[in-house]
Amino acid sequence: MGLATAEDIGRELAEAVAPGTLLTGDRAAAHQVAGVAPRFVATPTTVTGVSRVLAVAGSQRLAVVPTGAGARLGWGVPPRRLDVLLSLVRLDRVLAHEPADLTLSVECGVTLEALDAVLRPHRQFVPLDPARPHASTIGGLIATGAAGPYRARYGTMRDLLVGLSVVRADGTVVKGGGRVVKNVTGYDIPKLHVGALGTLGVVVEAHLRLHPRPTEERSWVFGFASAEAALEAALDVRDTPVVLSRGQLLTAGALHALGVPGPPGAALAVTIGSAPEAVRAQGTQVADICGRAGSRAIEVPAADAWWRGVADVTWPEEPATELSVRIGTRPTDTVKALHAIEAVGAPAGELRATADVATGVLHATLASVEARRVGDVVARVRDALSALDGTCVVEHAPPDALPGLDVWGDPGSALEPMRRLKRELDPAGVLNPGRYVGGI
């Protein structure tokens, strides 16, 4: 098998997918991943098709990069090898929606936006609001673990994914978890795939728990003279029984990008969702706390669109010169983390950053960073964060900065078991080889 020619491989892959759909040559090469051109682009329409493609890839030890709608395809280390770009976008069916069970089964190529259309009439939703929802598939959100401001109340994909089907690197189709919302039957395999960047298998079907949409949601923005003042108010709110659906600290740079006029030093933006009476009562409590710090509420009209803007505000606008990082820290340390970034790479007032006051997760984008400085900026941010036990993952960097850049940071003593896990589940190194943590 190992001596198959490129032609043989092309033929086998072509047979694995619907006739005439395999892209080769220049047509494949146009679909670059972080500047690397694939030899083939396969877009199967069935789980069996995915399985066949991976069976070929596994036997030929090809390097496969799975992709959904592609919004986060550049995350991770650029591929060293790229034989097959495996697109899941045509696996986009809703398999089962059980409104009375608050559960949903989908193929993984379905986008968040498409699901919203299905679920909204039932007053239910998948409570994830990451950037670029139209270009975010469920499979992609599983692979990247990407989440948005709703994580303050609803958590992340980890908290929603109750079961899945995965195609392993050799084409074997396996399932993990189940379809019910409470389940401890065997190891919780679905969690292994959340945030794994497709390195342990290609997720093809997902079973999700849904949440009821609150009867009403309202959002407010509170301006503060400084990020410290905004954080202090946020932590005071968090120390009450008020339930925030979203709670984001926004920097002046983020507010400017969002078009908030005459932006203050920083702002706290919140969403509260509940019965109208309860939204009003809690909104008043938040306003009282922020009011004591001298801030007055501005209610956000058309809040869903505004929040999409918040999630997008740290998305790289100028891919050639911008650096976007995701930082994990304690909520009380978020402002320290912001200052650490400002200190090394962003003039005060220009940093586009949002910080989740419930989970301590920051997204920050530095504009106009010279490629040759990126490695140093990231290293210095990590250095400052290490005193806070914080983490820093590069989501986007100027392409010229990528070679040799440590995108992920150090996972500590967990790296060894992670490497062993990869070797166990993908011994031939077929799936996204070299793109993940620690060279996995």
Binding site: T172, P241, A414, E424
Partner: protein, 480 residues
């Protein structure tokens, strides 16, 4: 037990950390599922992670099985030593190491009792959300190992949703730190797979847990119905309406009788079924939801509805629920306990099927369960002194499991697999599916010495269940 190993372990944990005498080891031969017995050759009670690591390394050198144990309140034969070896009891590692309320987490040693953590933070308005009914005695290490649930898992989730990080001594003889207080650590979610791995990957030596802010308002009510099917229909409708209560528990007539005979929780004994419904959240939200729940129960055919007027009454209603399983000892000599799950919309169907199955085997089934998330606990009553009844109970148990799987459910929602359901795992997972779990096992425990014979099907029952002899077949204070 090889005396050199014994000496080495005594050296590590000290003489007061060794339980060697057979009569003292007796208490360690089973957990709360007394059908399965497996006495360890030795029990060690380390006081620190370093001691656990040293013990594990010695045991690996000697090639003997290692069985971690918390408080031993499990219901799956998980903390037993069917192949002998060394049991590591973590009870003396019971320090709360750090509490950070502003960041809503705590770091605890594995032997900390679940409720002790809540007690340490509740006066400041916080709690540790997972509340298995055993919470006054079960350990957080054990809760994490089994991914325990509890009534409030409906709103707050099982333990995995509340564990941010772990320190674990792996079956490789190394210590690893997984996750932590800070989110977004790079790499695989190994916390997610270690929680619920039932001691088959390693010994948990530290747990970073999420703390939850207590709700502004709590309202607890009991609604009565003239059948468990109708009560189940009300549950399905509440969920379908988009209301996810904090807890939504169902009890049927045999349970009500058993509870009222002992605890006097104030459940109306004339009722054929009761729902214990708890709403929590912002006061105005609870108000609105309480009205909706009352309307749904009424429209579905509830007979009465009573709202607890104060904390004392609320506590009493919960006392009845939490002690229901233990109370069943008053109405039956023995029982087989189930932990299956069905989709919530299938509750009325499965309740009817359970009654049919029980009737066919001439047995009584008592039901006390986490109705809101479809997690059933049918208790199949039998009398081991009557020839053939135990066999019939096991057959009925098997049929109920199959019925739940048919309806799209699973075999365990919160108790775990252990010895008890290891073979049944193969009902849900193909050999290919199971191979992925084996691969995970090999990563952490390549020699298969960590809690052997648990979780994974062997193709044959590792250790046949034996109905216990005389004595107390239903342990006092058993919790589901």
């Amino acid at each position: 037990m090889d005396h050199r190993l014994l000496d080495a372990l005594r050296e590590i944990v000290g003489p007061d950390g060794i339980v060697a005498a057979a009569d003292q080891r007796l208490v360690y031969e089973c957990d709360m599922l007394v059908y399965y017995k497996g006495m360890p050759d030795l029990v060690v009670l380390p006081r620190s992670s370093a001691e656990v690591l040293a013990v594990v390394r010695r045991c690996l050198e000697a090639g003997v099985p290692i069985v971690p144990r918390g408080s031993g309140t499990g219901l799956i034969g998980g903390a037993t030593a069917p192949k002998g070896g060394v049991m590591i009891g973590v009870n003396r590692m019971d320090a709360i190491l750090e509490v950070d309320l502003r960041n809503r987490y705590a770091v605890v040693e594995p032997g900390v009792i679940n409720l002790a953590l809540t007690r340490a933070v509740q006066d400041r308005g916080y709690f540790f959300a997972p509340d298995p009914s055993s919470q006054m005695v079960s350990s957080i290490g054990g809760n994490a190992a089994t991914n325990a649930g509890g009534p409030h898992a409906l709103k707050y989730g099982n333990v995995v949703h509340h564990v941010l990080g772990l320190e674990m001594v792996m079956g490789t003889g190394e210590v690893v730190t997984l996750g932590g207080a800070v989110a977004e650590r790079p790499g695989y979610d190994l916390v997610g797979v270690a929680v619920g791995s039932e001691g088959t990957l390693g010994v948990i030596t530290k747990v970073v847990v999420k703390l939850t802010r207590a709700a502004e308002a709590v309202r607890t009510a009991v609604a009565t119905f003239d059948s468990i099917e109708v009560a189940s229909a009300a549950v399905s409708r509440i969920i379908a309406e988009g209301i996810v209560p904090a807890a939504l528990e169902a009890m049927d007539e045999p349970i009500i009788r058993a509870v009222e005979a002992g605890v006097h929780a104030g459940y109306p004994t004339e009722a054929k079924a009761v729902l214990l419904i708890e709403l929590d959240g912002p006061a105005a939200e609870v108000e609105v939801q309480a009205e909706a729940v009352a309307r749904i129960c009424h429209d579905t055919g509830s007979l009465t509805m009573r709202v607890a007027r104060d904390d004392a009454e609320r506590a009493l209603l919960w006392k009845g629920r939490k002690e229901a399983a233990g109370a069943v000892g008053r109405i039956t000599h023995n029982y087989v306990l189930q932990d299956a799950v069905v989709p919530r919309s299938k509750l009325p169907t499965v309740m009817a099927q359970i009654q049919t199955i029980a009737a066919r085997h001439g047995l009584v089934v008592a039901n006390v369960f986490h109705a809101g998330d479809g997690n059933l606990h049918p208790m199949i009553c039998y009398d081991e002194r009557v020839p053939g009844e135990f066999r019939r109970a096991l057959d009925a148990n098997e049929e109920i499991l199959h019925a739940c799987i048919e309806l799209g459910g699973t075999i365990t929602g919160e108790h775990g697999v252990g010895l008890d359901k290891a073979e049944e795992l193969a009902l849900l997972f193909s050999p290919d599916d199971l191979e992925v779990m084996h691969a995970v096992r090999r990563v952490f425990d390549p020699r298969g010495l960590m809690n052997p014979q648990k979780v994974f099907p062997s193709g044959q029952h590792a250790c046949a269940p034996v109905s216990t002899g005389a004595g107390k077949p239903v342990p006092e204070g058993m919790w589901v």
